[in-house]
Amino acid sequence: MIENIREAFDGIRSHKLRSCLTMLGIIIGIASLIAISSTIMGTNEQIKENLIGSGNNTVTIQLYQGDYPFESEYSTLPEYVPILGTEILDQISKVPQIAKASAYYSRNAYGIIWDGSNGLSQGTIYGVDNNYLSVYGYVIRAGRNFVDTDFSQYRKVILIDKQVSESLFLGEDPIGKTVEISGEPYEVIGEFTQSTEFSPVISSIEDYYTYHTTTGGKVLIPYTTWPVLFKYDDVFSFVIQATGTDDMTTAGKRAEDILNATITNESTTVKYKSKNLLEQAKELQELSGATNRQLILVACISLLVGGIGVMNIMLVSVTERTPEIGLKKALGARKRKISAQFLIEAGVLTCIGGILGVVVGVGLAYVISKVSSVPIFISGYIVTATVIFSFIIGMFFGAVPAVQASRLNPIDALRRE
């Protein structure tokens, strides 16, 4: 065996240029496979990271009308959809896949929050219960959190995040300041922030749509104050924290079912729907997977062409080395020995081609990630698999030349000089 591999290297070394050209097809095929797969895997890894970082395993459940969130600012709530109280949370929290649950109201904060003449031009205002911060993993950075009396006495107090703080107070300490919401004075009692700083890496428009909600500015008021502010009862949205990333979809569905059970009209399109990052991320993955599958197909075709190139060269090599084969046969080499020699030579050739292809492919992947800022992930498993795959290609396409070599008649082989 070692002898055979040595012989294979002898054969390759004695025809350097030809061997390189033979390997070229394999190199290109493997390189493109590696480059494509590392970009796919990089994108997937990125999605996973973004999910774990920004999602905190949360699933939001909102009332939808058809495919769009129900907008209570503009439509009247149908009578068969009851206004739920926070009691429903007890039921939701009992679902084993749900760790924490919170109910909240939300509206666009645009144009209703002012500090003197300085207004908030983006962001969302939320009426929240006291679980809201912990479900999202927020912590109070300065000032204080809501306390029970804030809820029971309908206090006009707000919590804001850094983004709101900066756009309203331009870097000044916001704690204790008063802002105007719909003409009423509200006191800023605290500023909250993510317990762990994380900003998702946004590299495409789809990524932006998936993650941008978590990066908008937030203004929180006690949910009990909400009807005071907006003058009528809104319908709750809910956010739950699943016990694990894999449980997100199940947890969302279970909570959905509990909430939809309260809607008395079964044929309506007004329904609670859960939305989680995992599902959206899966859609993203499928989207990138579909285009990349075609690229992989193209890479495989180029590998096939490379394999045919190997076969072609090996056939030439058999013809060229006929005297050598004849001599070896005369000296007592059996058919099996001769065919093994050519098979191994083809295998070694494509294996080297595969390794070079991996090197080129990794380089190519780095270039791609630099140029188009697509993340890459190089998996040892894929690298090993492609090298083994190229070896198999060599064996497969080396089979015909190897059999041809082993069938040579030693006399004819020796006579040809």
Binding site: K329, A330, K335, I411
Partner: protein, 225 residues
């Protein structure tokens, strides 16, 4: 009796195109004999040598080597017989150019399953028999034609075969190198090696103890000198 050919015939081709090459060849060779086979080109001498060397199968007749008939035994068996019992020397040496001298000599030992460590030792012994022990690590392109043929001879005898088959061993050499090669064959003959040499040079053939002539596929002569 080392080898015995009984009514050996060989045809090439099939049906209408059938060309008979050897007609009713009969001859015997004792252990330790030195035989030269002479004949013009196209006379069938190479075919005869191929049959004796198990490189080709006779169409009819029996070929006994040590009393056994393996002449139609199939690839694996014939390869084994070639490896164990026969040493070949060719006109054009047939050395592997990427291999050192000793590695060329060790090649048939590898096919014979000799352990790696022993191969080098035996290759060295075989090379010293032809006076090339100091050229062990040379590549064929670093050796003269005569030296190449001596490497080829040591490759042929490294497996300690029963029979040495030489096909025009001096054909590609100048007369001085040819002389040296013939001297080596003489020495091998004196040490008991059985040799069959094919040649068309009378001077070379006359070194043998017995000359056979082949014309149009028919063997004649067989007179001892």
């Amino acid at each position: 009796m080392l080898i015995e050919l009984k009514h050996i015939e060989k045809d090439y081709g099939q049906g209408e195109q059938k060309v008979p090459v050897l007609h009713d060849i009969n001859f015997c060779m004792e252990q330790g004999e030195y035989i030269a086979i002479m004949g013009p080109s196209g006379s069938g001498k190479s075919t005869l040598m191929n049959i004796i060397g198990y490189l080709d199968m006779p169409t009819r007749g029996a070929y006994l080597f040590d009393g056994e008939d393996n002449s139609r035994a199939g690839d694996a068996r014939m390869a084994l017989v070639r490896n164990e019992r026969i040493g070949f020397v060719f006109q054009s040496f047939h050395l592997l150019s990427q291999r050192r001298a000793w590695e060329n000599v060790a090649l048939p030992l590898m096919y014979g399953g000799v352990p790696k460590r022993e191969r080098r030792k035996r290759a060295e012994e075989a090379l010293s028999l032809v006076g090339l022990e100091d050229r062990m690590n040379f590549y064929p392109y670093q050796l003269s034609g005569g030296q190449c043929q001596r490497v080829a001879i040591s490759r042929a005898i490294a497996t300690r075969p029963r029979l040495l088959l030489a096909d025009e061993p001096t054909g590609a050499l100048d007369s001085k190198s040819g002389q040296q090669i013939m001297d080596i064959f003489d020495e091998l003959h004196h040490s008991g090696m059985s040799i069959i040499m094919i040649t068309h040079e009378r001077a070379v053939a006359e070194r043998a103890k017995r000359i056979l002539y082949i014309y149009d596929g028919k063997l004649s002569g067989g007179e001892n000198e």
